[in-house]
Amino acid sequence: MKLQVLLIAVLLIMAAFMAGCTQQTPNQQSNTSASQVLKVGVIASLTGPASNVGNNMWQSAQVAAEKINADGGVKLKDGSKAQIVLIVGDDESTQQGGQKAATKLITDEKVDILVGGYSSAVTSAYEQTIAEYKVPYIVTGASSPIITHRTDIDTSYVFHHVPTTDAYGEYVIKFIDQVIKPAIAEKSGSASDRPIRLALLYQDTAFGKGVQTAVSDTIKKNNLNIDLVAQQSFKMGESDFRTPLTTIKGSNPDVVFLAAFPNEGAPIISQARRDIGLNTIFLNVINNDNAQFYKDISQYGDGAIIESMFSPYIAPAGEVGDAQNAFKQAYYNKFKTYPDMMGASTYEGIFIAAKAVENSGTTDKASVRQALVDLKMPQVINVMKNQTISFSPDFRESNFDLWMEQLSYNATLGETRPLIVWPDNQKSTDFTLPSWYTPGSA
């Protein structure tokens, strides 16, 4: 009996140990030969359901810090240079975990600035702590505008450097109106004033509802000839979508817009094409542009559209494309896989943090915050409006330029690969309706 109790105790200790392993903080990830250090806290979901994206963010931050340190570090007012030391806080993909991570980074580790934050619900949960301690925070994952729009707490130290759901909806709807609509009219020979039938399938969270609002606002604001014929929601983490897809099929849509995470978007499209026979164009929001999505969606992704600002498999022409490729290569050399768009914004977030400290010349938090407010720096790896990273004066949001990719199946790879089809100044090919595409009908 004693042996059995001992075994149980050992098993429980093992459980605690294993949980600890995944939460372990790799404190010093670079050389610290310089006399000063800039402590950057990275809040990411290293464990739990969002760990795929979270690890990508954390690893991208490491690649950025290594590059900045290798280039000499961050120049301060007294002429000295500080090396960046990253400290990660695992939000465990939960609100409680996020609260714990933020508090620990601020009070125990005494970080100078924070970067990261995935899931709007999780990030919102610890914004009160950010407000209380007044630590500059560059959010590079959570996409709901509420992160900096909320008025119940002071968000003046929070800066949003990732496209918001407002942008998600706006770009996709404009693409439907300007590109898909004429293509459908041409294929089906329908009248040019026939409204396009749009169905929306969205995650029932701040993220999904944000996209839903952006879709209807964009249609209304621009008086577009688009009918929202079905709006179906699902719970975050759902894996069986056959029922909402059956309902959507019943509404005979021309296109289906998905506000979903990659682990939801891929099965939605597979189940729709394979099990429901919904042969339409699926449009995916920006966060789906990651390697796992391409792997999971396989041949069913052929013809689908992904909104993007950073792809594991393509880059826009020009300097920014070269910078993206260099980042992807550095990331691949270190981790033997490719970064995703949240990784790209986090990578850039570290550069923004470094620049803000350099501009203020000190790590004083109020000064760094002011430097972020005044920031005007050249884009690093993401295409920004006016090729400049700056934060809007009202809600401290940076302004990204997004593009649309169409996927085509590569039988040799057994996966789809993207090509940019919009806007005209970035596209490498034209959008085409696949041969199997069936337009909707009233």
């Binding site: 894996s239 056959r242 309902t247 019943g250 099990d275 796992q292 999971d296």
Partner: protein, 292 residues
């Protein structure tokens, strides 16, 4: 597709989803019926079953509907070890110990699976991916038909085992009256380990059907299904196998029907609304027997 066609299709999705719930709930009920323990880590057995099937399929290419046997066998062994080392020592020491033990097991299995397989979402493609067959006016995936058939075969086999074999009869006797079973010479500890292993094997079958149906899986996938499995066995009646079957089917159809009529956000809630109604009207569940 007309409205009736859509409705029939939704019912079909409910039947298929119900199959996974039935297997998970039946396994849980088998364990509870015999041992009277609350194992909240039962969803982790579904998760491990899913990973074993997916791994063997990806490495060997053997049809996952055959690998299900290997997965069930592996989970029987894992179940026997867990019962022997973890649950047997605390049997009868109070529900709180069982709850905390199973929470500990959840962490062990989740983190262990994350260490072995990584914690990204994964999916596999069934060998019958993309094949649909006509059923009346519907066109349904062949995988769903196989899933429904396989569930029926497993349940019939379980019924025969419980009714016709000596061990099955001993399990039923232990379930009805543990002390009485001991008095007539049944080795209840042996029955415990067999019941626990069988319950885990059924969870492995549920996990296999989950992955072949084209749903994604990761180490944390078991937490929601286990809550639903508990709702199913309470709904059907604690310890009642027919109750778990009817409860699972009801759950699958109600969830999908609700998602159709009210939206996906109500999908999980409806199970518990039905549960509350049944408990108010019939506190022992649909097939539970009143004590005393």
């Amino acid at each position: 597709m007309d409205d009736i066609g859509i409705f029939l299709q939704i019912i079909f999705w409910g039947l298929y989803a119900g199959c996974i719930y039935i297997l998970l709930g039946t396994g849980l009920n088998l364990i509870f019926g015999v041992m009277k323990i609350l194992n909240f880590a039962h969803g982790e057995f579904l998760m491990i079953g899913a990973y074993i099937t997916a791994t063997v399929f990806l490495f060997t290419g053997i049809n996952p509907y055959i690998v299900i046997l290997l997965s069930m066998l592996a989970l029987m062994c894992i179940g026997a070890v867990v019962e022997r080392l973890c649950f047997r020592p605390i049997l009868g020491t109070g529900k709180l110990n069982e709850i905390f033990l199973s929470i500990g097991l959840i962490y062990i299995f989740q983190n262990g699976a994350a260490m072995i397989w990584g914690d990204s979402w994964q999916s596999i493609k069934s060998p019958y991916d993309g094949i649909t067959i006509p059923v009346g006016s519907l066109s349904v995936p062949l995988d769903c038909i196989i899933i429904i058939t396989l569930t029926a075969v497993i349940l019939v086999a379980l019924y025969i085992f419980l009714k016709k074999t000596r061990i099955g009869r001993e399990m039923r006797a232990t379930s009805q009256n543990r002390k009485g079973a001991m008095l007539i010479g049944i080795d209840v500890e042996r029955i415990d380990v067999i019941s626990f292993s069988l319950g885990c094997a059924l969870a492995a079958a549920a996990g296999t059907l989950w992955v072949v149906s084209g749903q994604v899986f990761n180490p944390y996938m078991g937490s929601i299904p286990v809550v639903k499995a508990f709702a199913i066995i309470i709904l059907g009646g604690l310890g009642s196998i027919p109750g778990a079957i009817i409860g699972g089917l009801l759950m699958g159809i109600a969830e999908n029907g609700t998602a159709f009529f009210l939206g996906g956000v109500w999908k999980d809630a409806v199970s518990f609304i039905i549960l509350i109604i049944v408990l108010v009207v019939r506190p022992t569940g649909l097939f539970g027997e009143k004590k005393g």
